[in-house]
Amino acid sequence: MAVSAPALGDAFAAIVGGEHLTTAPSQLAAAAVDGVTPRWLARPGSLDEVSRVMALASAEGLAVAPRGGGSALDLGTPPLRLDAVLDLSRLAGILEYVPADMVATVQAGVTLDALDRELGKHGQMLALDPYGGGSRTVGGVLATNASGQRRFRYGTGRDLLLGARFVQADGTVTWGGSKVVKSVTGYDIPKLLTGSLGTLGVIVEAALRLHPVQPASGSWLFSFTSREAAGALVVAVLASSLEPERLAWLNAAVLGLVGSERGEAALAVSVATVAEAVTSQGAELGSMASRLGARVSALDPAFWTRMGGALASSTVVKLASEIRRLPFWAGEVERVISRHGLTVSLVGEAGNGILRAAVEGSVSPDTWAREIVAPLREALAAEGGSLVVERAPLYLKSAADVWGPVPETALAVMRRLKAEFDPGGVLNPGRFVGGL
């Protein structure tokens, strides 16, 4: 039986406490997702409260959007419906951390910065460095499978999430995976949740694999007068036994932003290991790059944080291609986008075939859809790649699907998964691929 809106509000308030339920219009407007304003913003303080909020929402047929720090709310299609935003920021505790195990179990709302401070005391880290910085929450980073330059060496959240406690659409509290670094017990449900944008369940706790902070590190910038030469260095590094931590592709616009010398394209590389090996790998990288005509300069470690700023635009596109094709796509995306008078800052994970393009300038929805997104997406898809619009103003989002097509058989399986675990469309309805 449907309950009236004020009664529902009372019911939510009874679960999370009146002070943690927002109904003030101005605050709700600020919590809107892609312009869709919720009726409630609830900040649960425990796993049990998350469960009860979801059970109530499910029983009443409401739509819920979970959120962490709110920095990735731009990701996805505008929600079909939205009644409640479930803010997990109060769930910010480190539940278990035994440094000798290199595993930490944390609540979803803990920020990367807060976690880093605690782990750093023991010389350890969570090797996830998504753009957007340390105010992002663990839960949000996992739900969006956000990644950064360190993925070349350590993988993404997919590889670092060992276990997860999550709340299903109907409020059922569920655990998947383990809290040990090596386990193959049952289906790898954490993999299913990683990157699922909260459409199958709300991650509330995560057991994470950690890594030791290496005793020494070095970073260098290799800038080239041609994209091809930069591409040749990528090939050379990947074909060598060098073990960089980060291998970043930067275009000329980004070089300007981070205050470095000019060039057509550049690679920023970091190495983290014992001091002797930093020196020797740096020397080898340097001579490799010099042979290809690079200008070499040392970078200070703060560069890596500064570099993320290059992507702080209202419109960001992520391209995934084969690794060897990244230099080609770097040129192609610049060509296609800049033709329309837009500027493009490109940051790529060169060892993984991932490129992000931050776009500045004004473009019509029609141009955006037909002359930028569609041709790039089709050409990438023909090679097994993809293009996702990670962030864009609504008028561009409505012009071209942000996710792009998913192969029909795979989409059919994804639809069955969604239908199985969220038949009522409670969790983020419409925001994920194929309108899931």
Partner: protein, 481 residues
């Protein structure tokens, strides 16, 4: 034979007479994997050579409500490749080709029956290798590795198989060909690749696997450290990891095994050692030199009796030969054994090893140990003689106590062998009803009629004892751990 003659004819229609094994002596070859508690020849074995044959097979079995059980090389240790009465076993050994080597993208696409080691052999000259290395890698298949998410010594640094699988072609239990993942990373949508790895044949049959290749490290250094007892060796393991060093491999071999390995393989491990650690570092030369120095110091601090560094490739190979062929020498110690594969958080290693000794003493049984210490992935082998009345029962009790002790410390039911038939009933020790229910529903999405490897991985299928024919345990012909 419970399988109808009509179905047999249809199978022959799909695979040709040469692709169907239905004689008793032919089927006997497939009566068990390396887990020999349960045995029973399948009613029929089919050997497809193409993905389209696999699709036809699944569609036929779905129509007839007949169970399908995939099998790679049969080196599994969990009874995962056991076919129930009336079921069809699908041996993928004929689909064993490398479909593509793509060094520029650091990956390879292979058929499921390809032997693990063959891939590294085929890529080494170009400077690459496939990191997941179950100790059976010279015979186990990559399809089997991906299906069970099999591990190996080098998982410590490089992660388990799922971390190395980029894409899959799968024929699901619904008979559809599903292509997921691939050379490009981060495909939009659910990470079906990640969730399908480790499915143990309950979701579908893998017909092609795209795996990550790693560049061969610049250098490798293998050390052996011996200790008077397992306790200081366990403490040394914890200290190495606590020092921020993640070796490529960090293996423990106890006194019982040291003796048997020396006699059986001639590995030349230190005589009389109470425990041996085999430690391998790989990476840039300067890195492994510095780390080796730290490790030697840590081992000395923990009263190591002897520390050896392999001086050349031959010496290194010999040290590893002892470890990799350890299970093959079990027969020297005992007519029968039960192998456990549970995991503890590695900081609990010293504690669990004391518990292992105590359990053995309590049940008056020798428990021998050779395992992946750096991961906390234990392999206690409970030695028993099934001709002695009561020993099997005591061994089973000890095995159960070991598993429960690991879980009580926050561990996991299986670290690398998988769940299969053997541990399906143990799943509720680690997971609650809601968790298992989620997994069961996940399975149904891929296999709506429950034809894919029934009775495995999840405890919901009752009466395994009726579906599968248990046999008296006997000495395995050889096994790998």
């Amino acid at each position: 034979m419970a399988l109808s003659l009509a179905l047999l004819r249809e199978l022959e229609g799909i695979l040709g007479a040469g692709g169907v094994v239905s004689t008793l002596e032919g089927r006997m070859v497939y009566e068990a994997d390396m887990h020999t508690f349960y045995k029973g020849a399948p009613d029929v074995v089919v050997l497809p050579e193409t993905t389209s044959q696999v699709v036809e097979l699944v569609r036929l079995c779905r129509r007839e409500h007949v169970a399908l059980v995939p099998r790679g090389s049969g080196t599994g240790l969990i009874g995962g490749a056991m076919a129930p009465v009336g079921g069809v076993m699908v041996s993928l050994t004929r689909m064993n080709r490398i479909l593509e080597l793509d060094f520029a993208n650091r990956c390879a696409t292979v058929q499921p029956g390809l032997i693990n080691l063959w891939l590294s052999q085929a890529t080494r000259e170009a400077g690459y290798y496939f990191a997941p290395d179950p100790s059976s890698q010279m015979v186990s298949s990559i399809g089997g590795n991906a299906s069970t998410n099999a591990g190996g010594p080098h998982c410590l640094k490089y992660g388990i198989t799922v971390n190395h699988v980029l894409g899959l072609e799968v024929v699901t239990g619904a008979g559809e060909i599903l292509s997921v993942g691939g050379k490009a990373h981060d495909h939009p949508g659910y990470d079906l690749t990640g969730a399908l790895v480790g499915g143990e044949g309950t979701l579908g049959l893998l017909t092609a696997i795209t795996v990550r290749l790693l560049h061969v490290p610049a250098g490798v250094k293998t050390l052996l450290a011996s200790f008077s007892a397992i306790d200081p060796a366990s403490e040394a393991v914890s200290a190495i990891v606590a020092a921020g060093i993640i070796p490529a491999a960090l293996e423990m071999i106890d006194e019982t095994f040291v003796r048997a390995i020396n006699e059986g393989v001639g590995a030349g491990y230190p005589k009389g050692a109470g425990a041996v650690l085999l430690i391998e570092l790989d990476g840039p030369a300067a890195e492994i030199e510095a780390q080796a120095g730290r490790i030697v110091q840590i081992c000395r601090d923990h009263a190591a009796l002897e520390i050896r560094v392999a001086q050349d490739e031959a010496e290194r190979a010999l040290l590893w030969k002892g470890r990799k062929e350890a299970a093959g020498v079990v027969g020297r110690m005992s007519p029968s054994w039960i192998l456990q594969d549970a995991v503890v958080p590695r900081s609990r290693l010293p504690e669990i090893m004391r518990e292992v000794q105590a359990i053995g003493a309590r049940h008056r049984l020798v428990i021998a140990n050779v395992f992946h210490a750096g991961d906390g992935n234990l392999h206690p082998m409970i030695l028993y003689n099934d001709l002695e009345p009561g020993e099997l029962e005591r061994a089973k009790e000890a095995n159960d106590e070991l598993l429960r002790a690991c879980l009580a410390m926050g561990g996991s039911v299986t670290g690398e062998h998988g769940v299969g038939l053997d541990k399906a009933s143990s799943m509720p020790l680690q997971f609650g009803d809601a968790d298992l229910n989620f997994m069961a529903r996940f399975r149904r999405v891929f296999d709506p009629d429950g034809i894919m490897n029934p009775g495995k991985l999840l405890p919901s299928h009752p009466a395994c004892g009726e579906v599968f024919r248990p046999s008296a345990p006997r000495l395995p012909a050889g096994a790998w751990v």
